[in-house]
């Protein structure tokens, strides 16, 4: 019996020995790159690291990174960045964000680091943090194109129209704009997204960061559009009573419930130079025939956002109604031109509109007429891209640049 057992053990050892040997050799081969000192420069290793990451060979990237760490100067800025990128590749997002934010603002890597950090936040639904990072990236490097685009994504989702306009304008200065881009720029001055889709996104964002006010506001607006009034109420509940954006929604919800008294009370209780709130107050006054109050509030709104169609249209109507004909005429003219532009934007929404040869030109002229000079410049840019020899477009761009320079010295 013992003999049999011994034989079995010997047989197992005989069979397993080579296997163990092979495993040991394999292990040595596996860790050899990490054990051996690299005979390469930091730049070469950094390039290898990039290749490994881009080809998704994350283990290899890790090995190269450790080799890079050994040879790179202690002050090499790529150390932290590459470590962050490695952590990101390995789905250790929090560590990646931590490393990215440890990169000093003085580093030339900082804009990229902030932007990547922002993108990680977006992926996780932490929109407020993302916005902060993208704004940092742009502050550090105003030519950070992707950070601008990311901000447009955020502002677009949340329909923060003024921020959206300003970011589009900045983007147009650092990156070529296609027909669709400029169209969306114009469109988002007054559009609404399908509310259900927004609700899904905003709910996710708020789950990731309940302190995200703008996602909360966007959620409430969308819920209201779907007449889910109680849920809309709940969405803005955490916001303070004197928050003007929340107050504006609360007043609208009261109106939706036929409670004009409550709406009036909410609007009266909040004093703020806030566009939406002033517009609400103006429209409320208008609907009740208090034209003087409506005029006052429309003027406030127009002062806060002089470029906003809604305030201009409101002023045109109310000034005419109270008999201030001369002033009304000025606003009416602007209001009419704005609505002419809106008609053209509708034309641009048609399928294949980008193939309508003179449409960008008409849009450019319409934008210029109403004083939307950055959009006009972008439309002329679309024309110039179509035909670089288009002298009208070139001249218009020059002309608008001059005007914008005067406007914003």
């Amino acid at each position: 019996m013992d003999l049999v057992r011994q034989k079995k053990i010997r047989l197992i050892l005989f069979a397993a020995g080579p296997l163990l040997m092979a495993m040991a050799i394999g292990w040595l081969v596996w860790i050899w790159p990490e054990l051996t000192a690299p005979n390469k420069t930091a730049d070469e290793l950094a390039a290898e690291f990039d290749i490994a990451l881009s080809t998704k060979q994350f283990r290899q990237a890790g090995i190269v990174f450790r080799q890079f760490e050994k040879v790179a100067d202690p002050g090499d800025e790529r150390r932290t960045m590459n470590e962050a990128r490695l952590n990101l590749a390995l789905k250790r997002d929090d560590r990646a964000v931590e490393l990215l934010n440890s990169i000093a603002e003085t580093s030339k890597m900082a804009p990229l680091a902030r932007r990547i950090s922002g993108q990680i936040h977006v992926r996780a639904g932490r929109i407020k943090a993302a916005e902060k990072d993208f704004l940092s990236a742009i502050r550090l490097d105003p030519t950070e194109v992707i950070a601008h685009r990311e901000l447009i994504y955020i502002y677009g989702l949340q329909l923060r129209r003024r921020d959206l306009r300003e970011t589009f304008e900045k983007l147009s200065r650092i990156s070529p704009m296609r027909f669709q881009n400029v169209f969306h720029w114009c469109l988002t001055r007054g559009n609404d997204w399908e509310p259900q889709e927004i609700i899904d996104d905003m709910t996710k964002f708020l789950a990731a960061d309940p302190t995200d006010k703008w996602s909360r506001i966007a959620l409430a607006r969308s819920l209201r559009r779907l007449v889910r009034l109680d849920e809309a109420d709940k969405a803005v509940e955490p916001l303070p009573a004197d928050d003007p954006d929340a107050a504006s929604i609360r007043a609208q919800l009261a109106l939706d419930r036929n409670d004009a008294d409550k709406a009036r009370q909410i609007l009266k209780s909040v004093h703020s130079d806030n566009f939406d709130l002033s517009m609400m107050k103006a429209q409320m006054a208008l609907s009740e025939g208090s034209l003087d109050e409506a005029e006052k509030q429309f003027r406030t709104a127009a002062k806060i956002d002089p470029d906003n169609r809604d305030a201009i249209v409101g002023l045109a109507r109310v000034l005419g109604a109270v008999g201030k004909k001369d002033e009304a005429r000025l606003y009416q003219e602007r209001s009419t031109n704005l609505d002419k532009l809106a008609t053209l934007v509708q034309e641009a929404a048609r399928p294949n509109a980008e193939k309508v040869a003179d449409l960008p030109r008409r849009l450019a002229l319409a934008c210029e007429t109403v004083g939307h000079l950055p959009e006009a410049r972008a439309w002329w840019g679309v024309m110039a891209d179509l035909n670089p020899l288009d002298s009208e477009a070139q001249q218009a761009i020059f002309r608008i640049d001059q005007l914008l320079r005067v406007k914003k010295p």
Partner: protein, 652 residues
């Protein structure tokens, strides 16, 4: 993230594609494309590769090129997850009562839209219904229009149906005897006395085959389309209205065109490609064409003068039309609801041409400057200032819009502030009317609803109709005296949803389309007829208790003015403080014809009223000592000098 969204694009039906715009922005931003930022290349001098967002544009661009929509109001938008809070929750009982008497009337019409799984675009919009007195017997008859399967086959297409009102709540099918049994693809009807012979003739707005039918006075119609010079072509007409735009005493015809659509070239696939599930395409995929204005030459022929008259715009998917004196200058104007284009407003200049006031008006877009999906339409004075306000029904996630007339200085969207927004938001609204259903002197609102697609998960194809009652703000009558030139007193009024206990019809869903209003039983209140898509219609008898309220009805007969007195304004002085202003208008609602007679609710005020009529010719006639709760046929007086400059305020 964008990969997730894009994978949703390929995996889910188009009902969830509605963020395409956003996706385009997403692709523009390059955001969330799961671009592991780790893949960003860096060198000693970091050069950021943008992640080539253009490459991510594929699906979004693909959707766009397929003609699909993406914004609120587009056909692809829906009411998924809309509230159950609306419209009946927490309501007081409605003051209105309507009884669906369809089954007892003998009306056996069933609408055929031609809708199949292919979802040919023209089959989405349904048809209208006409309430008019075809045989001059003082009873309002009914004419139901129908579509048919596409392509049109005249031999097999169902026919429109005409029913004569027998006066006892019964109707008799006289389709074949009347000559109104047109077989084809009918959208809208327009009625009016085009030949001044004292009866109502009919214009049929159809898919590529408009018809003009002349009444011989006995309710028998002759097709005079070719003789009259009505243009045939590839127009996809919706509806329209009659008006005497040049004030020459005969009625001209405005026809709204939706666009052109050819089964061979325009049948695009819109919807869920993977599951081969088709939905109706976005209106944006339909090419718009100029609308038509047929001038009556006075000799039985007509000439399209749209371009010369200044109403030849070609950028509107036309639906409902109302012709009325909208700016109070004594001349008949035109307001057109357009589907995802600005609503047209053409103000009559008095010289045979119109000023295109579309972008001037404030009634082209909603309050944010967005073109909505205009379908039904009306013009009425909802706040008692003598100015005509405008109302337009729209698609889901938009609201039905009320534009307040600002002392004839244009219009302003006050929908949210008068209580009409929330309840209408989940609905796709069609035929509508600002009509006083309880004779209290204030126009209420009725809207028929129904979605376009019948095959989308989470979308109610059948939707409840909505009715609102016009009430004083804060429960008491508040008078506002506006300042400024042309200002008038108005009341603070708003609307309150009032669908609870109106009747069983209001408690269930329908696929409503055309709606007509008229007093079918001549009992002094306005009944409603709804033409449902692919279903029998509903004849809703108004059984609203009116208490001590009174009414008065006018049947106005033009002399120097057009025979139907379209554009005549009636001012009723109840007492020194109270005046009601109404107008004989045409069109309104959608694709349908309303009772031409003017039925005016008076409330509990004076039992005897004084009325002043401003005829389109400029003649003014005063009528005192009118008995209430009766009909008064009033002919335009002759011999009185026309009063010039009737206008309250000339439009700029």
């Amino acid at each position: 993230m964008i990969h997730q969204l894009f994978s949703r694009f390929t995996a889910l039906p188009a009902s969830v594609y509605t963020l395409t715009f956003l996706l385009i922005i997403l692709s523009l931003t390059g955001c969330g494309k799961e671009s592991p930022p780790a893949n960003v290349n860096t060198t000693a001098s970091p050069i950021v590769k943008s992640g080539t967002p253009e490459k991510e544009n594929g699906p979004a661009e693909k959707k766009r090129n397929s003609g699909e929509g993406r914004m609120v109001g587009d056909r692809l938008s829906g009411v998924k997850s809309a509230s159950t809070q609306t419209p009946v929750a927490n309501q007081e009982p409605s003051p209105f009562k309507f009884t669906d008497i369809t089954k007892d009337t003998g009306i056996d019409f069933i609408h055929i839209s031609g809708m199949t799984e292919k979802k040919y675009f023209p089959t989405a919009n349904g048809s209208g219904v006409a309430i008019f007195d075809a045989d001059n017997d003082g009873l309002l008859d009914l004419y139901f229009l129908t579509n048919c399967p596409l392509p049109v086959n005249k031999d097999t297409a169902p026919s429109n149906k005409f029913y004569r009102n027998l006066g006892n709540g019964k109707f008799k099918d006289l389709t074949s005897e009347s000559g109104l049994g047109y077989r084809g693809f009918s959208h809208g009807a327009i009625a009016g006395d085009i030949d001044r012979d004292g009866d109502q003739d009919i214009f049929l707005a159809t898919f590529e085959d408009n018809r003009l039918l002349r009444n011989n006075g006995k309710g028998v119609f002759e097709d005079i389309t070719e003789k009259a010079g009505i243009k045939q072509g590839k127009y996809f007409s919706s509806g329209g209205a009659m008006l005497d735009y040049d004030n020459d005493g005969d009625l001209d015809i405005y026809v709204s065109n939706y666009g052109t659509w050819d089964i061979k070239t325009d049948d695009n696939f819109c919807g869920d490609v993977d599951n081969n599930l088709r939905y109706y395409c976005s209106p944006r995929s339909i090419k718009t064409v100029p609308h038509l204005l047929y001038r009556n030459n006075g000799n039985g022929t007509f000439t399209d003068v749209a371009r010369e008259a200044g109403v030849g715009r070609d950028d509107g998917h036309g639906f409902g039309v109302v012709t009325a004196d909208i700016n109070g200058d004594g001349r008949i104007d035109i307001y057109v609801a357009n589907d995802m284009n600005p609503n047209f407003l053409f103000l009559n200049k008095g010289d045979g041409t119109f000023e295109d006031a579309t972008e001037f008006s404030g009634a082209a877009f909603d309050v944010k400057g967005q073109a909505q999906s205009g379908m039904g339409i009306d013009a009425e004075d909802f706040d008692g200032d003598g100015r005509f306000d405008l109302f337009v029904t729209n698609f889901a996630n938009e609201y039905n819009t009320l534009y307040q007339n600002m002392n004839n200085n244009g219009f302003y969207d006050v929908t949210t502030f008068v209580g009409l927004s929330a309840d209408s938001m989940p609905m796709v609204g069609w035929g509508c009317g600002l009509v006083d259903f309880n004779s209290d002197g204030w126009p209420d609102v009725f809207v028929s609803n129904g979605h376009v697609d019948n095959n989308r998960a989470g979308i109610n194809y059948e939707q409840q109709p909505l009715i609102w009652v016009n009430v004083p703000v804060s429960g008491r009558e508040l008078v506002v005296k506006n300042s400024g030139a042309g200002a008038a007193e108005r009341r603070k009024r708003r609307f309150k949803i009032a669908t609870r206990d109106v009747g069983p019809y209001f408690e269930s869903g329908h696929v409503g389309r055309g709606v007509a209003f008229g007093d079918l039983d001549n009992d002094g209140d306005v009944d409603i007829v709804v033409n449902h898509k692919d279903a029998p219609p509903a004849i809703l008898r108004n059984d609203t208790p009116i208490g001590k309220n009174h009414w008065i009805r006018f049947s106005l007969k033009g002399g120097k003015s057009n025979p139907d007195a379209i554009g005549a304004r009636v001012e009723i002085q109840l007492d020194p403080e109270n005046q009601i202003t109404r107008q004989v208008k045409d069109g309104a609602s959608m694709l349908s014809v309303n009772d031409r007679r003017l039925l005016i609710g008076l409330g509990e005020k004076s039992p005897i009223v004084k009325a002043r009529i401003f005829w389109p010719s400029g003649i003014i006639s005063d009528h005192a000592g009118l008995e209430v709760d009766k009909m008064h046929e009033i002919r335009e007086p002759s011999g009185q000098a026309a009063v010039e400059n009737l206008k309250i305020e000339k439009p700029k």
